[in-house]
Amino acid sequence: MNYTRGLSASVSFLLMIQVIVNGATHRLERPLDVAALVARLELSGKRIAVERNGEIVPKSAHRTTQVADGDRLEIVVAVGGG
């Protein structure tokens, strides 16, 4: 019983990843590319830019860039400013 519970917990752990988006932690199911993450956050079609672990992910690479456990992402927009 305990053995099974432990197993299922670790299987689910393997399927889930934890990423930090704009400073907040999100637990998400893998596999996940940047485009899917953007869709999950309801930002598809919005004018945004994505940085993953300090590097820009160009729009053209959103579908081919996998999000990995522990990634830190920044998703930005243009706002009013001087």
Binding site: G23, L43, I48, I56, E74, V76, V77, G80, G82
Partner: protein, 267 residues
């Protein structure tokens, strides 16, 4: 008369650059920008609100990038790395747009530029292919260093950001103008129309402002006033002011042909 403002090889008719922060709403932002006649508008880059107001209007809808030249800034960055990352995000966001405003701040009380970090960031950004307009101290030596690094415009503060204190050190602004071959734009400190005119009369190529317009009681009217002030100051500079005569007056009307005096001349 063609008197274009040229920066990074691009010509503009307006010498007034306007910030888009601190307005009541996007409608007011747009009305003020249009009244100012500005063609270049600064914007900030910030984290998007996740899961909130999915249909919130965006600045890019109010001020379409097809109509205005965006100048993304690095406001709020206190080191070179953050500034470089912010502008790389801006370039990605704006489809490869490479004209940017670099500002690396020293502390939140003064928002005075941190010049060592500014120089470091400028060097990296130029290497990355950015066209860097740079907020800096009114120091002619560091202005020249920024020019040597390959920046496209030097933008000294005239007084603290958002202070509205005006052109506190016109001599230094002129030293900066004399020190570089790049456009010099007063960035920060303008409080009212006469400040903008003074900056232009000193020989600046342009003025960048935000709070002076946004925090006016009537931002749209102030934007219009600033447009006129920048144009008036520019024309006064080009016209060449009369020399100042210290301690002596000179009548504007002829001395000859006056009617006979009724009394003997004053001593």
């Amino acid at each position: 008369m063609s008197d274009k403002f040229v920066v990074a090889g691009k010509a503009f008719s307006s010498r007034l650059l306007i910030g888009t922060g601190k307005y009541k709403d996007f409608a007011q932002t747009r009305a003020a920008v249009e009244a100012s006649g500005a063609e270049i508008v600064t914007v900030a880059i910030r984290r998007t609100n996740i899961g909130q107001n999915a249909n919130e209007p965006s600045l890019l809808e109010a001020l379409p990038p097809s109509k205005f030249t965006y100048l993304p800034n690095t406001a709020g960055c206190y080191n070179a790395e953050d500034a470089v990352r912010t502008l790389r995000l801006a370039r990605e966001l704006l489809d490869g747009h490479d004209l940017v405003k670099l500002e690396v701040l020293g502390d939140p009380q003064t928002l005075y530029p941190n010049m060592p970090e500014t120089l470091k960031a400028a060097e990296q950004l130029v290497k990355d292919g950015f066209k860097v307009m740079v907020y800096c101290s009114d120091d002619p030596i560091q202005a020249r260093m920024l020019q040597d690094l390959g920046c496209v415009a030097i933008m000294p503060l005239a007084s603290l950001i958002g202070s509205g204190m005006g052109i506190l050190n016109p001599w230094n602004v002129q030293l900066v103008i004399g020190a570089v071959d790049l456009p010099v734009i007063v960035d920060a400190g303008v409080g009212t129309a006469s400040d903008a005119a003074i900056a232009m009369e000193l020989g600046c190529d342009g003025v960048l402002m935000n709070t002076a317009v946004a925090a006016a009681r009537d931002p749209v009217m102030m934007a219009r006033a600033m447009k006129k002030a920048v144009e008036a100051g520019r024309e006064a500079f080009l016209a060449g002011r009369m020399p100042k005569k210290l301690y002596s007056a000179a009548p504007s009307s002829p001395n000859e042909g006056k009617i006979a005096p009724s009394r003997s001349k004053a001593a």
